[in-house]
Every structure is written in C-alpha cells, then in structure tokens.
Symmetry: D2
Subunit: 152 residues, 4 copies
C-alpha cells in the first residue's frame, strides 16, 4: 500500500545548504507571463519548511509543544534578478545562520540551473500562539546546530 | 481620526441578492492573460463573507461562540463562461437559500456589467473546531432569515 | 552538474491513473486550521499539468504551437469530504476520459493514504489565445490516447 | 443600469500619500491564525495599482503602449511588526519617490487604525515584454509627478 513514490520530495542537504526542487505551475504566474512577485515568498517558505523537516522538525510537532510554538518571519528582503516562467524546474536554496534567543537569520536563493533568479535575506522568530517571542527550545536548537552556516 | 473612506466596502443588498464589487489585480491573473480558475473561489468566498457581514454576522464573532463555530464549504460547482481580465471591475452576486440543520445552499455569480462570467452553486455548513457539523445557532438563523431567497 | 535530485517530481502513472504527491505548506491553510477550499483547485491543476507532462505535453510547447494553444477549465465540481492539514502528504489522482473535439473530461481525487479527502469532476477545453475553442491537435490526441480512462 | 455602488473602491490621496482600504478574508490567513507573510506583498501591489489608477494610469493602457510596458518589482524589503487577523479593516499606505530612468522607489505601510502592522520599501521598474528596462514614458511621468513624495 505504502509506496515510496507517493512521498512528496522534501529536498536534500548539500553540506549545510538545503536544496528543494519545485516546478512552476499556472497558479504561480501572472498575466505579464512570468511568476508573480509575492509567490517567491511562498517558495522560500516551502524551502524553509523542507529544511526543518529534513532536520527532523515539523510544524505539527511544534504546535504540540508546551507552550505551542510556530515560526514567524520578522523581516525579509527580496532581490528580483531574473523572472521564472511556467514549467520551469527551480531549486530553493536555504541556509540558516546564527541562532540568538528567539531569532534565526536565513539566506535563500531561487535557482534555475546555475542562474540565480531571486535572493532573499530574512529573520525568523519562534513565537507562542499569543504572538510572544519564545526562546528556540533546546531540543530544536540541537537539531538545527549541525546545519547552521556562518553568516554570509 | 476615523475616516469613512478608510472603511473597506462590504457591498450592498438589492432585495435578497447581495452584491460585492471587486477589482482584478495582478495576483488574480495567470500567464494565459486572464484570471486563474481557482481565484473565482476566493471571490465567491469574499462575496459570502461580505453577505454575512452586512447581515450582522462576523467570522470573529462565530469563533467566540460556545462552542466556537466556522463556516465550511461542502460542495461547490463552477461553470466558467467568460474569462475576467486585469483591471476588470466585477460584481460577486450572492443568494443564500434554504437553511436545513447545519447546511445552507448558496448560488453565486461573477458579473462584469450585465455579463455573467462565472456561476457557482454550493452547500455551506456550520462546524465546530473539531470539524463536527453544528446546527446553525438560532441567533444567526434569525439574522439570515430576512435574506434567504427561494431555491433557484 | 545536473543532479537527478534537483528535478521536481512529476508523479507517475499507475495504469491510466496519474498520481502526483504533494505536501501541505503554510500557504495552503487558513485560520480555521485546515486547507483553504480554493487551494484544492490549485492542487488539481498541478495534478493535470503533471499528467500532461508525464504524457509528453508541456504548456510551453502548446504556447509555441501555431496557433498558440492553452488549456482552460470549463466546468469543475468539488465535493469536500475530509479536510487536509499542515504537513500532510497527499496524492492528487487524475484520470482523463473521452476526448470530444475541443473538450476532455477529467475526474480527480485528493487522497491521504487510503482516505479520499476531496473529489473533483471537470471539463477541460483547448483554446487559442483569443479564447476560441480549438480541436485538440492530433499530435496531442495521440499522446493522450493511451492514458484515457473510461468515463467513471 | 450603472450603479456607483458597483464600482470597486480605489482608495484616495491624502496629499501625496495614497490610502487603499482592504478587508482580511479567509484566503489571506494561515493555520497560525493570522495573515500569511507573502500576502502582504499582494496587498502592497493592490496599493500601488490603486495609486496608479487614481493617478490616471492603468495596466491595460500600459500594455497597449508601443512597445507594450509593464511594472515589475526589482527589490522589496518587508518588516513585519504586528500580525493582521481575519475580518480586520486595513489601510495600504503608498508613497512613490524619485523617478530615475526606468526606476521608481516606493515606501508602503499596512495600517490598522493608527497601528503600523507591516512596512515595505521597494524599487519598481518599467519594462517591455522582453523584460528590458524602459524609460518611464513622458506621459506617465507627467501623471506621476504631482504625486511624488520626497525620499523618506
């Protein structure tokens, strides 16, 4: 019944860089013919979530922590260099850096082969469900530690 | 301080038909040049939410009920007749029909002037946050009653 | 340079049923805690596009045909049975049926393991970029023929 | 036939600041209970498009120029301060600054009453449909000039 082919691909680590492949569909484009600018934030989030998943951290698990926790983005800066188009096969590259208290910095890229299409730099925080920042739990910090890159 | 112009438009009732105006933006279109087919469901939902708002029912208020309640769509059928394009000014027309236990039927249209672009027929239910169907609370049924249309 | 792991998964055929795996991310959910109802149409479209891709038909290629062609959905009916949640691993199951002139009928399901969460029945047409229906080109019909299922 | 209430609201100018009201719907939120981080880019784009519309510039008109033109975002930096929630009535505040060749800088805010929820700073360019940057056409520059603010 269970079939390996039924498992969605969560990408892979190349050293401390996580690489998540995705395809551009109709939903991602706009009438100008290329990908709508907000959608790269969706792709970056898929990259970060897949990084966490591969590192053994799931959103559902965080929500079951006591107190329940979630990731939020505090800051994010995008630099759009080359537009992506329908049917494109892209890679979301994700590196997490220093972990300080409730905050983690992240640098990401959308690649098409060797071309960098869009870069993103952000800061992610862990909050409880009232929105209050919370120290990254030790068990999570331990899981992340082997994957943290030096600040770019 | 408070400025009437800062209030988002929730549309208006024309008899028992609710009419909600909306504009097509970049985000709504795809590379084929017209509105992406899933986005009409977003527009229909804006129409239903605005209908409820004008009838005195808000989502936040429902969530504060005991037990907390929410609307979910059980069935929805779309008929795509004419595509909408960037910059279009559209109307979402919404009529709710018979209220039976936990279920309400709804018929909706996306209009551009006198043209019908897309029609939708659906069934909406009230659930608690465990997903269990719940009778529409009497206070809400009383608010909806004056706006219910005969089945189409 | 080129790495098989960088290729996005397009799913696979199990007989004439195409199966496309996907993961639920933040972007897919709404504040009620489960997947937003319009997003299943995005998933169904990913399933159809991946079916076409595996059958050797790409959107970019269609756009380069003379005249340029695209797929549009004419009708689609959704039946929501069980909601999907964050982190879920789902399968989009897609079967295309009879091909008549410009139209193809399709039946789809969103599965979580053996559970059917949402079903969809639709009609897809081939149009040129003025929106006029066009006969499915013979080369495309030939590629689709081995994958057509009997009407459900 | 034509009814002023059927016209979608494009906001208004308060001096050189454009203010565009919007409502938060189901589609804008995610399972964490608040607005999904990418959606503020959709709201910012609605603000910019409505600014242009009020200043007499439409996307459709730009596409009919010779050569056909469109706006693209080159850079955008977001600072998330307070999350927005379902049913919120928000204002998108937009100011455009210096116009240099193909580029215009923009600063935007999402407000809830007097609270600033999210700020954005970006750079927008005019391109032709091959993606090449194009000088802002004189007629458009003339329309924008009265609304340009000093750099923040």
């Amino acid at each position: 019944m269970s079939d390996a082919r039924d498992q969605p691909d969560a990408g892979y680590f190349e050293g401390r860089e996580h690489r998540y492949p995705l395809r551009i569909f109709y939903e991602d484009t706009d009438f100008s013919g290329v990908v709508y600018y907000a959608n790269y934030l969706r792709f970056f989030e898929r990259g970060r979530s897949s990084f966490f998943r591969q590192a053994g951290i799931g959103h559902a698990e965080l929500l079951k922590a006591d107190p329940a926790l979630a990731f939020v983005v505090r800051k994010f800066a995008l630099d759009y260099q080359i537009p992506a188009s329908i049917d494109d096969a892209l890679i979301v590259s994700t590196r997490f850096h220093s972990l300080k208290g409730a905050r983690v910095s992240v640098s990401q890229k959308i690649m098409r082969g060797d071309q960098t299409l869009v870069t993103g730099q952000g800061e992610v925080a862990v909050i409880d469900l009232t929105g209050r920042p919370r120290r990254v739990p030790q068990a999570m910090a331990d899981k992340l530690a082997p994957y943290l890159s030096k600040t770019p």
